[in-house]
Amino acid sequence: MTAKTITSNVYDWVDERLGLSELAAFARHKSVPVHAQSFWYYWGGISLFLFLVQCFTGVLLLVYYRPGAEAYESVRQITFVMHFGWLIRSAHSWSANLMIFSILVHMFSVFFMKAYRKPREFGWLSGMALLGVASVFGFSGYLLPMDELSYFATKVGLEIPMAIPWIGPIIANMLRGGPEVSEFTVQRFFALHVVVLPALFLPLLGFHLWLVQRHGNAVPPAEEAKPANERKSMPFMPNFLRKDLAMWLISLNILALLASVFPWSLGKQYDSLAPAPMGIHPEWYFMSPFEMLKILGSFLPGAVGEIAGILLFTLGIVLWVLIPFYDPKSEAGKRARIAHYFGLLAVFALLSTTLIGYWTIR
């Protein structure tokens, strides 16, 4: 019995029961379109890789993190006492930011390639749900160290649901575990971040990935217009997989460099009596709505401005989510162009408000 016959016997035994050869056949026939926009096909995979990094570094942090009253102290110990704790925490924080960035790149590339069209509407909708959950991951995770920045970012962030009439304060108090951000809040956010959100994210992600396998990569309208024999493709195995893994490796390298050369800092422990520090601002991915609310607040002061801002932003998100139903046709037409301009407007609005937000930090 050579090693080769043993392995092939084991493979046959498992294959008879699990159907591995069907999977292998599928993988061998899978192909990826090759055209000018093929570069954007990597970004979903990069987002997935960074999410896996989050799961891994998150579990490691979970070994020493203590939610509740000792949250800050446990993060201080991770950062300054445990060997390489600073590196693991730094990787987790950096990867969170890189993940949201790559999800946004992925989303916009899908939008502009019109990959939300039939039959991929569920892919778009599940993707938007994943973005929503990822944002809550970011918001809940940010509070867990309970330093000054965490405390104020959460305090300000929770003011947004407060502005919703009637149910707003109830929701905000439920999230906060009381009228103030406290040890109850961090415990709740911990439960969200470590149990509830993964339980939501993972099935959604599975669904999202299965849809990609089922429908394959979408091709931009210009490419679709070409006759079939002019369209190029490459086999998934091993060509695209190799390039995909190379992109993952590059992402890992960039993350390792950023995490070690620019380690994440830990501010002072939160103090509920302290005034908000000068230049307080949310993380970059929340800067846009933050700045939009500020700008609107200067035109329409008080509660009116807040509600108007929230409504405007919500309207924008709803229109964005529903784009597959507005622009369903496969030929380029008026709706296709309007959708394209809407996308450009969204990119412009988000970029400009983010930049203005940073520019006006005092």
């Binding site: 490691l60 060997h83 704790g85 091993p238």
Partner: protein, 162 residues
Amino acid sequence: MSTTDLVNSANIVEEHGERNTRRAFLASAGAAGLCYTAALAYPIYRYLASPEEMALSATAVTEVTLKDAQKLPAGSVLMYKFGTRPAMLIHHADGRWISMTAVCTHLGCTVQYEPQADRVHCACHGGVYNAYTGANVSGPPPKPLTVYKVAVGDADVTVSRA
């Protein structure tokens, strides 16, 4: 051969050269993977082993000073930590100060001093030790409890390895 045939054959038929490059690629990918795994595994191991390493430096302790322990009344016991392991300081009724480790030599349970019987007893499996010499008197314990040196001062009691 038409162009499509050539393209097809290039896609499907593996040249001998391509098989060698594939092997070379897999070998280099494997080696790189190993390097990356090692580079990741080292900090993760040190991180997870941190409490172990911290405890190791704590067990290097050779002397413990117990503040105000000289006030311990006769016929009673004080449980304390010698490094990371539990230990006991007994102020006997006849005035003698004895200190010994409180880790049972049988299976590691923490033993207790019983003043009324003037003995050290392990609740887990009924081991009994001499409360003056630490000798294993009866029950399963195979070895005696290590006895420490005790120096009673004016404001504290210093216990050190014998």
